[in-house]
Amino acid sequence: MRTNRRRSGFIALCVAPATILFFIFMILPTINVFRMSLFQRGAYSPTETFVGMGNFTALMKDTNFIRSMQNTILLVVVVTIITFALALIFANILTREKLVGQNFFRVVFYIPNILSVVVISGIFSAIYKPENGMLNSIIGLFRDMTNPILWKGESLVMVSLIIAMVWQAIGYYMVMYMASMAAVPNSLYESSALDGAGRWTQFFQITLPLIWTNIRTTLTFFIISTINMAFLFVKAMTSGGPNGASEVALSYMYGQKDAGLYGYSMAIGVVIFLFSFLLSALVNKVTKREPLEF
Protein backbone atom coordinates (compact mmCIF):
# COMPACT_ATOMS: atom_id res chain seq x y z
CA MET A 1 0.00 0.00 0.00
CA ARG A 2 2.82 2.34 0.95
CA THR A 3 4.69 1.75 -2.28
CA ASN A 4 1.49 2.24 -4.21
CA ARG A 5 1.00 5.67 -2.67
CA ARG A 6 4.59 6.56 -3.38
CA ARG A 7 4.07 5.51 -6.96
CA SER A 8 1.00 7.72 -7.38
CA GLY A 9 2.82 10.56 -5.68
CA PHE A 10 5.74 10.22 -8.05
CA ILE A 11 3.51 10.15 -11.11
CA ALA A 12 1.54 13.17 -9.94
CA LEU A 13 4.74 15.10 -9.28
CA CYS A 14 6.07 14.31 -12.73
CA VAL A 15 2.93 14.94 -14.75
CA ALA A 16 1.45 17.90 -12.87
CA PRO A 17 3.81 20.73 -13.96
CA ALA A 18 3.50 19.85 -17.65
CA THR A 19 -0.26 19.47 -17.40
CA ILE A 20 -0.68 22.78 -15.58
CA LEU A 21 1.48 24.72 -18.04
CA PHE A 22 -0.23 23.05 -20.97
CA PHE A 23 -3.65 23.83 -19.53
CA ILE A 24 -2.95 27.49 -18.77
CA PHE A 25 -1.12 28.41 -21.96
CA MET A 26 -2.72 26.14 -24.55
CA ILE A 27 -6.08 24.67 -23.53
CA LEU A 28 -7.44 27.77 -21.81
CA PRO A 29 -6.51 30.17 -24.65
CA THR A 30 -8.01 27.75 -27.18
CA ILE A 31 -11.28 27.64 -25.25
CA ASN A 32 -11.09 31.43 -24.99
CA VAL A 33 -10.80 31.80 -28.76
CA PHE A 34 -14.17 30.10 -29.12
CA ARG A 35 -15.79 31.79 -26.13
CA MET A 36 -14.65 35.31 -26.96
CA SER A 37 -15.83 35.01 -30.55
CA LEU A 38 -19.38 35.27 -29.18
CA PHE A 39 -18.70 38.49 -27.29
CA GLN A 40 -17.88 42.08 -27.99
CA ARG A 41 -15.14 43.55 -25.89
CA GLY A 42 -13.84 47.09 -25.67
CA ALA A 43 -10.20 47.87 -26.26
CA TYR A 44 -9.34 48.94 -22.73
CA SER A 45 -12.10 47.63 -20.47
CA PRO A 46 -12.51 43.96 -19.71
CA THR A 47 -16.32 44.19 -19.86
CA GLU A 48 -17.85 41.89 -22.42
CA THR A 49 -21.25 42.01 -24.08
CA PHE A 50 -22.73 38.87 -25.49
CA VAL A 51 -23.49 39.26 -29.20
CA GLY A 52 -24.06 35.63 -30.18
CA MET A 53 -23.27 35.05 -33.82
CA GLY A 54 -23.04 38.80 -34.43
CA ASN A 55 -19.30 38.75 -35.05
CA PHE A 56 -19.66 35.96 -37.57
CA THR A 57 -22.45 37.60 -39.56
CA ALA A 58 -20.36 40.78 -39.70
CA LEU A 59 -17.42 38.67 -40.87
CA MET A 60 -19.36 37.25 -43.82
CA LYS A 61 -19.99 40.78 -45.09
CA ASP A 62 -16.42 41.95 -44.55
CA THR A 63 -14.79 42.05 -48.01
CA ASN A 64 -11.33 42.47 -46.47
CA PHE A 65 -11.80 39.25 -44.55
CA ILE A 66 -13.02 37.41 -47.63
CA ARG A 67 -10.00 38.60 -49.56
CA SER A 68 -7.69 37.47 -46.76
CA MET A 69 -9.31 34.01 -46.82
CA GLN A 70 -8.90 33.85 -50.58
CA ASN A 71 -5.23 34.73 -50.23
CA THR A 72 -4.80 32.08 -47.55
CA ILE A 73 -6.37 29.40 -49.72
CA LEU A 74 -4.30 30.49 -52.71
CA LEU A 75 -1.08 30.27 -50.69
CA VAL A 76 -1.96 26.93 -49.12
CA VAL A 77 -2.83 25.33 -52.46
CA VAL A 78 -0.02 26.75 -54.59
CA VAL A 79 2.77 26.56 -52.02
CA THR A 80 1.81 23.00 -51.09
CA ILE A 81 1.74 21.77 -54.68
CA ILE A 82 5.01 23.41 -55.72
CA THR A 83 6.87 22.49 -52.53
CA PHE A 84 5.77 18.87 -52.55
CA ALA A 85 6.36 18.33 -56.24
CA LEU A 86 9.85 19.84 -56.13
CA ALA A 87 10.81 18.26 -52.79
CA LEU A 88 9.78 14.80 -53.99
CA ILE A 89 11.54 15.13 -57.33
CA PHE A 90 14.75 16.50 -55.81
CA ALA A 91 14.73 13.90 -53.05
CA ASN A 92 14.26 11.20 -55.65
CA ILE A 93 17.13 12.50 -57.77
CA LEU A 94 19.47 12.81 -54.80
CA THR A 95 18.75 9.30 -53.52
CA ARG A 96 18.50 7.46 -56.85
CA GLU A 97 21.27 9.02 -58.92
CA LYS A 98 24.93 8.83 -58.08
CA LEU A 99 25.85 12.47 -58.11
CA VAL A 100 28.98 14.34 -57.17
CA GLY A 101 28.40 16.64 -54.21
CA GLN A 102 25.23 14.93 -53.04
CA ASN A 103 25.92 15.79 -49.43
CA PHE A 104 26.76 19.37 -50.32
CA PHE A 105 23.35 19.85 -51.95
CA ARG A 106 21.63 18.31 -48.96
CA VAL A 107 23.40 20.59 -46.51
CA VAL A 108 22.73 23.71 -48.57
CA PHE A 109 19.06 23.00 -49.27
CA TYR A 110 18.34 22.74 -45.56
CA ILE A 111 19.78 26.19 -44.69
CA PRO A 112 16.57 28.26 -45.22
CA ASN A 113 14.82 26.12 -42.66
CA ILE A 114 17.10 27.22 -39.82
CA LEU A 115 16.74 30.94 -40.53
CA SER A 116 14.21 33.12 -38.77
CA VAL A 117 11.34 34.31 -40.97
CA VAL A 118 12.42 37.85 -40.09
CA VAL A 119 15.86 37.11 -41.53
CA ILE A 120 14.31 35.53 -44.64
CA SER A 121 12.13 38.54 -45.23
CA GLY A 122 15.19 40.75 -44.84
CA ILE A 123 17.01 38.65 -47.44
CA PHE A 124 14.04 38.78 -49.80
CA SER A 125 13.73 42.55 -49.39
CA ALA A 126 17.24 42.74 -50.77
CA ILE A 127 16.25 40.40 -53.61
CA TYR A 128 12.98 42.15 -54.46
CA LYS A 129 14.12 45.76 -54.08
CA PRO A 130 12.88 47.64 -57.20
CA GLU A 131 16.03 49.74 -57.69
CA ASN A 132 19.27 47.76 -57.62
CA GLY A 133 17.73 44.72 -55.99
CA MET A 134 19.33 41.37 -56.79
CA LEU A 135 16.50 40.02 -58.95
CA ASN A 136 15.86 43.17 -60.96
CA SER A 137 19.56 43.69 -61.63
CA ILE A 138 19.75 40.20 -63.14
CA ILE A 139 16.60 40.69 -65.20
CA GLY A 140 18.03 44.07 -66.23
CA LEU A 141 20.68 42.23 -68.19
CA PHE A 142 18.00 40.97 -70.56
CA ARG A 143 15.49 43.78 -70.76
CA ASP A 144 15.17 47.48 -70.30
CA MET A 145 14.69 48.52 -66.68
CA THR A 146 13.54 52.11 -66.96
CA ASN A 147 10.43 51.15 -65.06
CA PRO A 148 11.61 48.41 -62.70
CA ILE A 149 9.47 45.41 -61.78
CA LEU A 150 7.72 46.04 -58.48
CA TRP A 151 7.91 42.61 -56.84
CA LYS A 152 6.09 43.83 -53.80
CA GLY A 153 3.55 45.79 -55.82
CA GLU A 154 -0.13 44.97 -55.77
CA SER A 155 -0.11 42.62 -58.76
CA LEU A 156 3.02 40.61 -57.96
CA VAL A 157 3.09 40.52 -54.18
CA MET A 158 1.44 37.10 -53.90
CA VAL A 159 3.87 35.60 -56.42
CA SER A 160 6.76 37.03 -54.42
CA LEU A 161 5.35 35.53 -51.24
CA ILE A 162 4.93 32.14 -52.87
CA ILE A 163 8.54 32.15 -54.07
CA ALA A 164 9.82 33.03 -50.61
CA MET A 165 7.69 30.39 -48.90
CA VAL A 166 8.69 27.62 -51.29
CA TRP A 167 12.33 28.67 -50.92
CA GLN A 168 12.00 28.31 -47.17
CA ALA A 169 10.11 25.00 -47.03
CA ILE A 170 11.59 22.92 -49.81
CA GLY A 171 14.80 21.77 -48.09
CA TYR A 172 13.12 20.48 -44.99
CA TYR A 173 10.71 18.24 -46.86
CA MET A 174 13.39 17.12 -49.25
CA VAL A 175 15.62 15.90 -46.44
CA MET A 176 12.66 14.17 -44.86
CA TYR A 177 11.73 12.31 -48.06
CA MET A 178 15.34 11.42 -48.76
CA ALA A 179 15.37 9.50 -45.50
CA SER A 180 12.24 7.54 -46.29
CA MET A 181 13.26 6.94 -49.91
CA ALA A 182 16.60 5.56 -48.80
CA ALA A 183 14.68 2.86 -46.91
CA VAL A 184 13.13 1.50 -50.11
CA PRO A 185 15.15 -1.60 -51.03
CA ASN A 186 17.34 -1.25 -54.09
CA SER A 187 16.35 -4.69 -55.42
CA LEU A 188 12.94 -3.32 -56.39
CA TYR A 189 14.56 -0.78 -58.69
CA GLU A 190 16.96 -3.32 -60.14
CA SER A 191 14.29 -5.84 -60.99
CA SER A 192 12.00 -3.18 -62.43
CA ALA A 193 14.90 -1.88 -64.53
CA LEU A 194 15.28 -5.36 -65.96
CA ASP A 195 11.62 -5.25 -66.85
CA GLY A 196 12.33 -2.08 -68.77
CA ALA A 197 10.94 0.51 -66.37
CA GLY A 198 12.37 3.98 -66.85
CA ARG A 199 13.06 6.58 -64.20
CA TRP A 200 9.61 8.10 -64.28
CA THR A 201 7.86 4.74 -64.16
CA GLN A 202 10.00 3.77 -61.18
CA PHE A 203 9.25 7.06 -59.47
CA PHE A 204 5.49 6.77 -59.90
CA GLN A 205 5.12 3.00 -59.56
CA ILE A 206 7.65 2.20 -56.82
CA THR A 207 8.89 5.24 -54.90
CA LEU A 208 5.66 7.16 -54.47
CA PRO A 209 3.43 4.22 -53.45
CA LEU A 210 5.99 2.93 -50.97
CA ILE A 211 6.47 6.20 -49.11
CA TRP A 212 2.84 7.21 -49.43
CA THR A 213 2.11 6.98 -45.69
CA ASN A 214 4.92 9.41 -45.00
CA ILE A 215 3.74 11.81 -47.70
CA ARG A 216 0.23 11.71 -46.35
CA THR A 217 1.10 12.64 -42.76
CA THR A 218 3.53 15.36 -43.83
CA LEU A 219 0.94 16.78 -46.18
CA THR A 220 -1.58 17.19 -43.38
CA PHE A 221 0.95 18.92 -41.17
CA PHE A 222 2.22 21.03 -44.03
CA ILE A 223 -1.22 22.47 -44.71
CA ILE A 224 -1.65 23.52 -41.10
CA SER A 225 1.83 24.97 -40.97
CA THR A 226 1.39 26.85 -44.25
CA ILE A 227 -1.58 28.76 -42.85
CA ASN A 228 0.74 29.78 -40.05
CA MET A 229 3.87 30.40 -42.14
CA ALA A 230 1.84 32.60 -44.48
CA PHE A 231 1.13 34.80 -41.48
CA LEU A 232 4.79 34.92 -40.40
CA PHE A 233 5.92 35.87 -43.91
CA VAL A 234 3.20 38.45 -44.47
CA LYS A 235 3.76 40.10 -41.11
CA ALA A 236 7.50 40.45 -41.66
CA MET A 237 7.61 41.01 -45.42
CA THR A 238 4.61 43.05 -46.46
CA SER A 239 2.49 43.82 -43.35
CA GLY A 240 -0.49 42.82 -45.50
CA GLY A 241 0.15 45.58 -48.01
CA PRO A 242 0.01 47.16 -50.45
CA ASN A 243 -3.63 48.05 -49.79
CA GLY A 244 -4.32 44.70 -48.17
CA ALA A 245 -3.38 42.82 -51.35
CA SER A 246 -1.30 40.29 -49.42
CA GLU A 247 -3.40 40.08 -46.26
CA VAL A 248 -3.93 36.50 -45.05
CA ALA A 249 -6.45 35.27 -42.50
CA LEU A 250 -4.13 35.18 -39.50
CA SER A 251 -2.55 38.55 -40.24
CA TYR A 252 -6.03 40.03 -40.56
CA MET A 253 -6.90 38.49 -37.20
CA TYR A 254 -3.77 40.03 -35.69
CA GLY A 255 -4.61 43.38 -37.23
CA GLN A 256 -8.08 43.35 -35.66
CA LYS A 257 -6.46 42.63 -32.30
CA ASP A 258 -4.22 45.66 -32.75
CA ALA A 259 -7.33 47.69 -33.52
CA GLY A 260 -8.79 46.54 -30.20
CA LEU A 261 -11.63 44.51 -31.74
CA TYR A 262 -10.95 41.41 -29.69
CA GLY A 263 -14.27 39.62 -30.17
CA TYR A 264 -14.15 40.16 -33.91
CA SER A 265 -10.53 39.05 -34.02
CA MET A 266 -11.40 35.82 -32.22
CA ALA A 267 -14.29 35.12 -34.58
CA ILE A 268 -11.68 35.12 -37.35
CA GLY A 269 -9.62 32.77 -35.18
CA VAL A 270 -12.55 30.35 -34.95
CA VAL A 271 -13.02 30.38 -38.71
CA ILE A 272 -9.32 29.63 -39.23
CA PHE A 273 -9.42 26.85 -36.66
CA LEU A 274 -12.39 25.18 -38.33
CA PHE A 275 -10.96 25.80 -41.78
CA SER A 276 -7.65 24.13 -40.97
CA PHE A 277 -9.39 21.17 -39.32
CA LEU A 278 -11.75 20.64 -42.24
CA LEU A 279 -8.95 21.00 -44.74
CA SER A 280 -6.70 18.47 -43.04
CA ALA A 281 -9.60 16.04 -42.62
CA LEU A 282 -10.38 16.45 -46.31
CA VAL A 283 -6.76 15.88 -47.34
CA ASN A 284 -6.60 12.86 -45.07
CA LYS A 285 -9.67 11.39 -46.72
CA VAL A 286 -8.67 12.15 -50.30
CA THR A 287 -5.17 10.73 -49.92
CA LYS A 288 -6.26 7.50 -48.25
CA ARG A 289 -4.65 4.43 -49.87
CA GLU A 290 -3.97 0.89 -48.80
CA PRO A 291 -0.55 1.01 -47.12
CA LEU A 292 2.06 -1.02 -49.00
CA GLU A 293 4.74 -3.07 -47.30
CA PHE A 294 8.22 -3.70 -48.57
Binding site: C14, A18, L21, N32, Y110, I114, S116, M134
Partner: protein, 296 residues
Protein backbone atom coordinates in the same frame (compact mmCIF):
# COMPACT_ATOMS: atom_id res chain seq x y z
CA UNK B 1 25.33 -8.90 -60.16
CA UNK B 2 26.11 -5.46 -61.45
CA UNK B 3 23.95 -4.25 -64.23
CA UNK B 4 26.07 -2.41 -66.73
CA UNK B 5 24.21 0.52 -68.18
CA UNK B 6 25.23 2.09 -71.40
CA UNK B 7 25.77 5.84 -71.19
CA UNK B 8 23.55 7.06 -73.98
CA UNK B 9 23.67 10.67 -75.05
CA UNK B 10 20.15 11.17 -73.70
CA UNK B 11 21.36 9.90 -70.37
CA UNK B 12 24.22 12.37 -70.33
CA UNK B 13 21.88 15.21 -71.22
CA UNK B 14 19.60 14.20 -68.37
CA UNK B 15 22.48 14.27 -65.90
CA UNK B 16 23.63 17.68 -67.09
CA UNK B 17 20.09 18.93 -66.70
CA UNK B 18 19.89 17.57 -63.15
CA UNK B 19 23.14 19.24 -62.17
CA UNK B 20 21.93 22.46 -63.68
CA UNK B 21 18.67 22.43 -61.73
CA UNK B 22 20.26 21.38 -58.45
CA UNK B 23 23.01 23.99 -58.80
CA UNK B 24 20.45 26.66 -59.61
CA UNK B 25 18.56 25.93 -56.41
CA UNK B 26 21.78 25.80 -54.39
CA UNK B 27 22.87 29.15 -55.87
CA UNK B 28 19.51 30.70 -55.06
CA UNK B 29 20.19 29.85 -51.42
CA UNK B 30 23.91 30.53 -51.09
CA UNK B 31 24.11 33.75 -53.06
CA UNK B 32 21.49 35.78 -51.15
CA UNK B 33 22.83 34.63 -47.78
CA UNK B 34 26.40 35.42 -48.78
CA UNK B 35 25.21 38.73 -50.23
CA UNK B 36 23.80 39.76 -46.83
CA UNK B 37 27.11 38.94 -45.17
CA UNK B 38 28.96 41.11 -47.70
CA UNK B 39 26.39 43.88 -47.43
CA UNK B 40 26.84 44.00 -43.67
CA UNK B 41 30.35 45.40 -44.09
CA UNK B 42 29.47 47.87 -46.83
CA UNK B 43 29.25 51.60 -46.28
CA UNK B 44 25.88 53.24 -46.77
CA UNK B 45 26.96 54.99 -49.97
CA UNK B 46 27.77 51.63 -51.55
CA UNK B 47 24.12 50.62 -51.61
CA UNK B 48 23.08 52.97 -54.39
CA UNK B 49 24.98 51.47 -57.29
CA UNK B 50 25.26 47.99 -58.73
CA UNK B 51 24.26 45.45 -56.01
CA UNK B 52 26.89 42.96 -57.17
CA UNK B 53 29.99 45.01 -56.36
CA UNK B 54 32.15 43.68 -53.56
CA UNK B 55 32.48 45.86 -50.45
CA UNK B 56 35.14 48.54 -50.78
CA UNK B 57 36.48 47.71 -47.34
CA UNK B 58 35.44 46.15 -44.07
CA UNK B 59 33.18 48.72 -42.54
CA UNK B 60 32.87 47.14 -39.08
CA UNK B 61 31.27 50.33 -37.80
CA UNK B 62 27.92 48.85 -38.96
CA UNK B 63 28.17 46.17 -36.31
CA UNK B 64 29.23 48.62 -33.62
CA UNK B 65 26.32 50.89 -34.50
CA UNK B 66 23.82 48.04 -34.59
CA UNK B 67 25.11 46.73 -31.28
CA UNK B 68 25.02 50.09 -29.46
CA UNK B 69 22.80 52.59 -31.27
CA UNK B 70 20.15 50.10 -32.37
CA UNK B 71 20.41 48.25 -29.00
CA UNK B 72 20.93 44.94 -30.78
CA UNK B 73 23.45 44.13 -28.04
CA UNK B 74 20.92 44.18 -25.25
CA UNK B 75 18.37 42.40 -27.48
CA UNK B 76 20.95 39.71 -28.06
CA UNK B 77 21.36 39.28 -24.31
CA UNK B 78 17.56 39.06 -23.92
CA UNK B 79 17.36 36.44 -26.63
CA UNK B 80 20.10 34.37 -25.03
CA UNK B 81 18.34 34.51 -21.64
CA UNK B 82 14.89 33.73 -23.04
CA UNK B 83 16.14 30.83 -25.16
CA UNK B 84 18.25 29.28 -22.39
CA UNK B 85 15.54 29.71 -19.77
CA UNK B 86 12.81 28.33 -22.02
CA UNK B 87 14.95 25.31 -22.87
CA UNK B 88 15.71 24.67 -19.18
CA UNK B 89 12.03 24.93 -18.18
CA UNK B 90 10.99 22.76 -21.10
CA UNK B 91 13.43 19.98 -20.23
CA UNK B 92 12.67 20.01 -16.51
CA UNK B 93 8.93 19.86 -17.16
CA UNK B 94 8.72 17.69 -20.26
CA UNK B 95 11.20 14.92 -19.42
CA UNK B 96 9.47 13.55 -16.29
CA UNK B 97 6.04 14.01 -17.85
CA UNK B 98 6.98 12.15 -21.02
CA UNK B 99 8.60 9.42 -18.94
CA UNK B 100 5.49 8.82 -16.82
CA UNK B 101 3.06 9.15 -19.70
CA UNK B 102 4.88 6.56 -21.74
CA UNK B 103 5.97 4.03 -19.09
CA UNK B 104 3.44 3.99 -16.23
CA UNK B 105 -0.17 2.90 -16.34
CA UNK B 106 -2.42 5.16 -14.30
CA UNK B 107 -5.81 6.80 -14.39
CA UNK B 108 -6.21 9.70 -16.87
CA UNK B 109 -3.13 8.48 -18.72
CA UNK B 110 -4.99 7.87 -21.96
CA UNK B 111 -6.84 11.14 -21.57
CA UNK B 112 -3.66 13.15 -20.94
CA UNK B 113 -1.88 11.52 -23.87
CA UNK B 114 -4.82 12.42 -26.06
CA UNK B 115 -4.75 16.03 -24.84
CA UNK B 116 -1.06 16.44 -25.60
CA UNK B 117 -1.53 14.82 -29.01
CA UNK B 118 -4.36 17.25 -29.71
CA UNK B 119 -2.00 20.04 -28.68
CA UNK B 120 0.12 19.21 -31.73
CA UNK B 121 -2.65 20.68 -33.85
CA UNK B 122 -2.98 23.91 -31.90
CA UNK B 123 -0.74 26.45 -33.50
CA UNK B 124 0.64 29.08 -31.14
CA UNK B 125 -0.17 31.89 -33.51
CA UNK B 126 -3.86 30.96 -33.37
CA UNK B 127 -3.95 31.50 -29.63
CA UNK B 128 -1.51 34.37 -29.17
CA UNK B 129 -4.32 36.93 -28.77
CA UNK B 130 -6.05 35.15 -25.85
CA UNK B 131 -2.67 34.57 -24.19
CA UNK B 132 -1.95 38.28 -24.50
CA UNK B 133 -5.37 39.24 -23.10
CA UNK B 134 -5.05 36.76 -20.24
CA UNK B 135 -1.71 38.24 -19.21
CA UNK B 136 -2.98 41.80 -19.61
CA UNK B 137 -6.04 41.10 -17.46
CA UNK B 138 -3.72 39.49 -14.93
CA UNK B 139 -1.60 42.61 -14.94
CA UNK B 140 -4.63 44.85 -14.39
CA UNK B 141 -5.73 42.70 -11.50
CA UNK B 142 -2.25 42.71 -9.96
CA UNK B 143 -2.01 46.47 -10.30
CA UNK B 144 -5.35 46.97 -8.57
CA UNK B 145 -4.59 44.63 -5.68
CA UNK B 146 -0.85 44.98 -5.17
CA UNK B 147 0.02 48.15 -7.03
CA UNK B 148 2.50 46.53 -9.44
CA UNK B 149 2.40 44.21 -12.39
CA UNK B 150 4.92 41.91 -14.01
CA UNK B 151 3.21 39.62 -16.52
CA UNK B 152 3.59 41.57 -19.75
CA UNK B 153 6.96 42.92 -20.91
CA UNK B 154 8.73 40.29 -18.87
CA UNK B 155 11.22 37.97 -20.53
CA UNK B 156 10.78 35.29 -17.87
CA UNK B 157 7.06 35.04 -18.63
CA UNK B 158 7.92 34.92 -22.33
CA UNK B 159 10.27 32.00 -21.66
CA UNK B 160 7.51 30.18 -19.76
CA UNK B 161 5.07 30.70 -22.64
CA UNK B 162 7.67 29.39 -25.10
CA UNK B 163 8.27 26.31 -22.98
CA UNK B 164 4.56 25.66 -22.47
CA UNK B 165 3.72 25.90 -26.15
CA UNK B 166 6.60 23.59 -27.08
CA UNK B 167 5.35 20.89 -24.69
CA UNK B 168 3.10 18.84 -27.01
CA UNK B 169 5.78 18.30 -29.65
CA UNK B 170 8.51 17.63 -27.09
CA UNK B 171 6.43 15.16 -25.08
CA UNK B 172 5.32 13.44 -28.26
CA UNK B 173 8.90 13.01 -29.41
CA UNK B 174 10.26 11.90 -26.03
CA UNK B 175 7.39 9.49 -25.33
CA UNK B 176 8.04 7.85 -28.65
CA UNK B 177 11.59 7.19 -27.58
CA UNK B 178 10.85 6.12 -23.99
CA UNK B 179 8.22 3.65 -25.18
CA UNK B 180 10.87 1.69 -27.10
CA UNK B 181 13.02 0.99 -24.02
CA UNK B 182 12.54 -2.45 -22.39
CA UNK B 183 11.11 -2.45 -18.87
CA UNK B 184 14.00 -4.56 -17.58
CA UNK B 185 16.03 -1.42 -16.92
CA UNK B 186 13.65 -0.15 -14.26
CA UNK B 187 13.05 -3.55 -12.72
CA UNK B 188 16.79 -4.08 -12.28
CA UNK B 189 17.12 -0.64 -10.70
CA UNK B 190 14.19 -1.24 -8.33
CA UNK B 191 15.72 -4.54 -7.21
CA UNK B 192 18.97 -2.69 -6.50
CA UNK B 193 16.96 -0.42 -4.22
CA UNK B 194 16.71 2.70 -6.35
CA UNK B 195 13.52 4.75 -5.94
CA UNK B 196 11.33 6.02 -8.77
CA UNK B 197 13.02 9.39 -8.97
CA UNK B 198 16.53 8.00 -8.90
CA UNK B 199 15.73 5.38 -11.55
CA UNK B 200 14.33 8.07 -13.80
CA UNK B 201 17.17 10.57 -13.48
CA UNK B 202 20.10 8.15 -13.20
CA UNK B 203 19.09 5.30 -15.52
CA UNK B 204 16.52 6.45 -18.05
CA UNK B 205 17.46 10.06 -18.80
CA UNK B 206 21.11 9.30 -19.66
CA UNK B 207 19.87 6.70 -22.15
CA UNK B 208 17.60 9.27 -23.76
CA UNK B 209 20.51 11.60 -24.48
CA UNK B 210 20.21 11.46 -28.30
CA UNK B 211 16.54 12.42 -28.18
CA UNK B 212 17.26 15.14 -25.64
CA UNK B 213 19.88 16.63 -27.93
CA UNK B 214 17.43 16.54 -30.84
CA UNK B 215 14.88 18.35 -28.71
CA UNK B 216 17.35 20.99 -27.62
CA UNK B 217 18.40 21.60 -31.23
CA UNK B 218 14.92 21.99 -32.66
CA UNK B 219 13.60 24.06 -29.80
CA UNK B 220 16.69 26.25 -29.76
CA UNK B 221 16.02 27.12 -33.38
CA UNK B 222 12.33 27.76 -32.86
CA UNK B 223 12.80 29.85 -29.68
CA UNK B 224 15.66 31.86 -31.12
CA UNK B 225 13.81 32.59 -34.37
CA UNK B 226 10.31 33.15 -32.93
CA UNK B 227 8.93 36.65 -33.24
CA UNK B 228 5.12 36.79 -33.10
CA UNK B 229 4.68 35.88 -29.41
CA UNK B 230 7.66 37.99 -28.49
CA UNK B 231 6.27 40.95 -30.44
CA UNK B 232 2.91 40.57 -28.70
CA UNK B 233 4.00 39.95 -25.12
CA UNK B 234 6.90 42.43 -25.11
CA UNK B 235 4.96 45.31 -26.61
CA UNK B 236 5.95 48.26 -24.43
CA UNK B 237 7.96 50.88 -26.29
CA UNK B 238 10.71 51.05 -23.67
CA UNK B 239 10.50 47.48 -22.49
CA UNK B 240 12.77 44.56 -23.35
CA UNK B 241 12.79 42.98 -26.83
CA UNK B 242 14.21 39.86 -28.38
CA UNK B 243 16.61 39.85 -31.31
CA UNK B 244 14.18 39.04 -34.18
CA UNK B 245 11.74 41.75 -33.04
CA UNK B 246 14.61 44.20 -32.76
CA UNK B 247 15.58 43.28 -36.30
CA UNK B 248 12.01 43.74 -37.49
CA UNK B 249 12.00 47.26 -36.03
CA UNK B 250 15.36 47.93 -37.62
CA UNK B 251 14.01 46.82 -41.00
CA UNK B 252 10.97 49.05 -40.67
CA UNK B 253 13.06 52.03 -39.50
CA UNK B 254 15.44 51.47 -42.41
CA UNK B 255 12.68 52.29 -44.88
CA UNK B 256 12.70 55.91 -43.77
CA UNK B 257 16.23 56.32 -42.44
CA UNK B 258 17.92 54.23 -45.18
CA UNK B 259 20.65 52.88 -42.94
CA UNK B 260 21.23 49.74 -44.94
CA UNK B 261 24.56 48.79 -43.43
CA UNK B 262 23.24 48.64 -39.88
CA UNK B 263 20.21 46.64 -40.99
CA UNK B 264 22.32 43.98 -42.68
CA UNK B 265 24.65 43.88 -39.69
CA UNK B 266 21.58 43.17 -37.55
CA UNK B 267 20.50 40.47 -39.99
CA UNK B 268 23.90 38.80 -39.64
CA UNK B 269 23.66 38.97 -35.85
CA UNK B 270 20.35 37.09 -35.86
CA UNK B 271 21.35 34.39 -38.31
CA UNK B 272 24.99 33.83 -37.39
CA UNK B 273 24.33 31.81 -34.19
CA UNK B 274 21.91 29.49 -35.99
CA UNK B 275 24.27 29.07 -38.94
CA UNK B 276 27.21 28.23 -36.67
CA UNK B 277 25.06 25.74 -34.78
CA UNK B 278 23.91 24.24 -38.06
CA UNK B 279 27.44 23.79 -39.36
CA UNK B 280 28.45 22.08 -36.11
CA UNK B 281 25.50 19.71 -35.82
CA UNK B 282 24.36 19.49 -39.43
CA UNK B 283 24.37 15.69 -39.46
CA UNK B 284 22.57 15.40 -36.17
CA UNK B 285 19.88 17.86 -37.18
CA UNK B 286 18.94 16.19 -40.44
CA UNK B 287 19.06 12.77 -38.80
CA UNK B 288 17.14 13.86 -35.71
CA UNK B 289 14.40 15.15 -37.93
CA UNK B 290 13.69 11.71 -39.30
CA UNK B 291 13.72 10.27 -35.77
CA UNK B 292 11.18 12.82 -34.65
CA UNK B 293 9.07 12.39 -37.72
CA UNK B 294 7.41 15.74 -38.09
CA UNK B 295 7.38 19.30 -37.19
CA UNK B 296 5.16 21.95 -38.68
Amino acid sequence: MEIVKKQTSGDRLYRIFIYLVLSLLAISIIVPVAWVFLASVKENSEFYGNPWTLPAGFHWQNFVDAWNKASMGSYMLNSVIVTALALAILLVVALPAAYCLSRFRFRFRKFLNLCFMGGLFINVNYIVVPIFLMLRDGDTWLKNTFGGSFLLNNIVVLAIVYAATALPFTIYLLSGYFATLPHDFEEAAYIDGAGYGKTMTKIIFPMAQPSIITIILFNFLSFWNEYIISLTLLSSANGPRTLPVGLLNLMQAQQSAAQYGIMYAGLVMVMLPTLILYICVQKKLTQGMTVGGLKG
